[in-house]
Amino acid sequence: MRISGLVGASALALIVSSGAFAQQASLDLVEPIAEYKIYVTEKVAKLVEDTTAFTAAVKAGEVDKAKALFAPTRVSYEAIEPIAELFSDLDVSIDSRADDYEKAEADPEFPGFHRIEYGLWEKNSTDGLAPVADKLLVDVKALEGRIASLTFPPEKVVGGAAVLMEEVAATKISGEEDRYSHTDLWDFRGNFDGARKIVELVRPLIAAKEADFLKTVDANFDTVDKTLSKYKDGDGYVTYDKLTEDDRKVLAASVNTLAEDLSTLRGKLGLD
């Protein structure tokens, strides 16, 4: 992993973009970034634990159990998705969609959670999934090791909240991610929690100067929470097709605004 390149690139950015009022990055970011790393470390530990149980169920041919574990296992992964750009290779092998492959679902290269999801829901079977499950577990363990030794570039962490909200707005809102199981609302829970965590950690740095900005961001996160809570079912959520058209519009509007607002967060912290 070559961090230096990124650091250098953003360093240059500071010179290029520094106008009279450009915000300078502050060492006050050290604590939030450290806290965020600890947050991610805990999420990944949980992901490894849950994926171990999930893949064991797949390999034992326990279709119902595997189906029940699929969405809760993914929540930990979705919560760290703001920084998925830091491990793009593993993101592909863990979480890519059939569209990324030439032969879509029939492509032998189609891996990870969604390949298993396809088997469990579309075929109602675990046939042929054992090697996919083995590989998935290897990959999430590799992710844990990768995270442990990775220095988080602050601009990637802070920018990651907006990048993820953009992805939700641009693609996930259509229900494309969990297209076979329709467990998208679980993923959304993880995505919004993960993005909001970043805002919470940098809040003290901008609270005084950016009160209005934070108020708007909080209001949109609150709207998302309220909307999602209507669809709670036990520890999780009902399937995505139960979402009413009105609520989908509310979610879409909130996430669009969040994507746009959070895209200014890097600049506010001097990280552009």
């Binding site: 690139a9 290029v16 491990f87 569209d99 990324d100 990637k156 953009e166 229900g175 001097g270």
Partner: protein, 396 residues
């Protein structure tokens, strides 16, 4: 990052929704994606001097790009029949990306790049990647000798995480030590003591500078008027004295309880401590020199005799903050980065030679004054190498 600005030359924006819908892969609720696209502000004109990249079914045109360091605008056209994302990658790390560019659409991406060779993605994951070469500029050269403050946020954060993890383990070990002493379990107490010492050595470059806690946690009898009988003889070495010299856990209860409490305070103090960029190498160099001048010559663990194990742990504790700076050092001076890395290898090797191949290294009492002096020189050389880092990064 700014929002994508999808646009299509010559196509009225009213067709946006239709095209986006056609491009969406799954149509359970595909309106959401279209809503997003339609809600974006009007497309900007292509910026002058932007670099055109056309992504076809199998390749990018061109597959090989060269730009100067600094800000570049890429104008990406999706000429394939599937939605694509376009990424600039440094190894596995995405530097910048645009998601979900629908077929027939264009999107602009602004990136600020430092010199180097990057990959660009070209549609399907199975498609070959293109190459983006970024050449040096006056700005990029100046940055190498003096990285901006921002470049140190990541390394400092990572060091704080390390201190948090290690001091957490230290508290865990001293708590286990107290439990073992309560139970009168000498073997368990010795094991917990060793684990606590390893964690303590890992944070000592910083904790050694917190005088009040250092004097409670880590005083050595040689510096106390009444030596082992001195009431100020507390902390780890008092425990070591009991467990190894007296071979007993008796009388240790108040000592281990106080140690558990002091290490908890230390952990909390480390958590709120603020660091400057120069502290990373500065503290490590200072600690390496302190080890060379004191403990390596006279030995710290007079009763357990496990100094060689402790010195190895201390080297790990020195290497952590330095390793976090090495990517920056390598930019400024590859030779210096190599010299620092080599100095760590050398000191580890020198400890290893004295420790031998057995599972438990020999007691430090068996290490001759000459051998100690040679090891001290090794630590001093390491300190010198680390000392050269801050000037090279413009931190002095």
């Amino acid at each position: 990052m700014s929002s994508p600005d999808p646009q299509r030359a010559g196509v009225p924006s009213s067709r946006l929704t239709t095209i986006a819908l056609a491009g969406a892969a799954v149509l359970v609720l595909a309106g959401g994606g279209a809503f997003y696209l339609a809600s974006q502000k009007a497309a900007k004109p292509v910026e002058a001097g932007s670099i055109a990249v056309r992504v076809g079914e199998k390749t990018c045109e061109p597959m090989d790009l060269t730009v100067p360091a600094g800000r570049s605008v890429f104008d990406i056209e999706n000429a394939s029949n599937r939605p694509i994302e376009w990424e600039i990658l440094d190894g596995v790390m995405v530097i910048e990306e645009r998601e979900n560019i629908a077929p027939g659409f264009r999107s602009q991406l602004t990136a600020r790049l430092k010199p180097g060779v990057y990959d660009i993605t070209c549609g399907l994951l199975s498609n070959p990647r293109g190459k983006l070469t970024v050449t040096a500029s006056a700005h990029s050269d100046a940055e190498k000798a003096k990285p901006p403050l921002k470049a140190f946020i990541g390394p400092l954060s990572e060091y704080k995480v390390y201190l948090a993890l290690q001091s957490g383990q230290m508290v865990q070990a001293t708590t286990a030590l107290a439990t073992a002493v309560d139970a009168g379990d000498l073997a368990a107490a010795r094991t917990a003591y060793a684990a606590g010492r390893t964690a303590y050595r890992h944070v000592e470059a910083v904790s050694g500078r917190i005088a009040d806690l250092e004097n409670a946690i880590d005083p050595v009898a040689a510096y106390l008027a009444g030596r082992e009988q001195d009431p100020a003889f507390t902390g780890f070495h008092r425990v070591e004295f009991g467990l190894w010299r007296q071979n007993a856990t008796a009388d240790l209860k108040p000592v281990v309880d106080k140690l558990a409490s002091d290490t908890t305070v230390l952990r909390d103090r480390l958590k709120v401590m603020k660091f400057e960029p120069a502290d990373l190498a500065g503290n490590a160099a200072r600690e390496a020199r302190r080890l060379a001048e004191g403990p390596v010559i006279s030995g710290d663990s007079l009763y357990a005799g496990d100094d060689l194990t402790e010195f190895a742990a201390a080297v790990d504790g020195l290497e952590k903050p330095v390793s976090l700076l090495l990517p920056l050092v390598a930019e400024a001076s590859p030779d210096m980065a190599k010299a620092v890395t080599d100095a760590f290898v050398a000191t580890r090797g020198d400890i290893g030679k004295l420790a031998g191949a057995t599972a438990v290294p020999p007691a430090y009492a068996a290490v001759s004054p000459e051998a100690r002096k040679a090891l001290a020189t090794s630590f001093a050389t390491l300190a010198d190498a680390i000392d050269r880092i801050n000037p090279a990064l413009g931190l002095e």
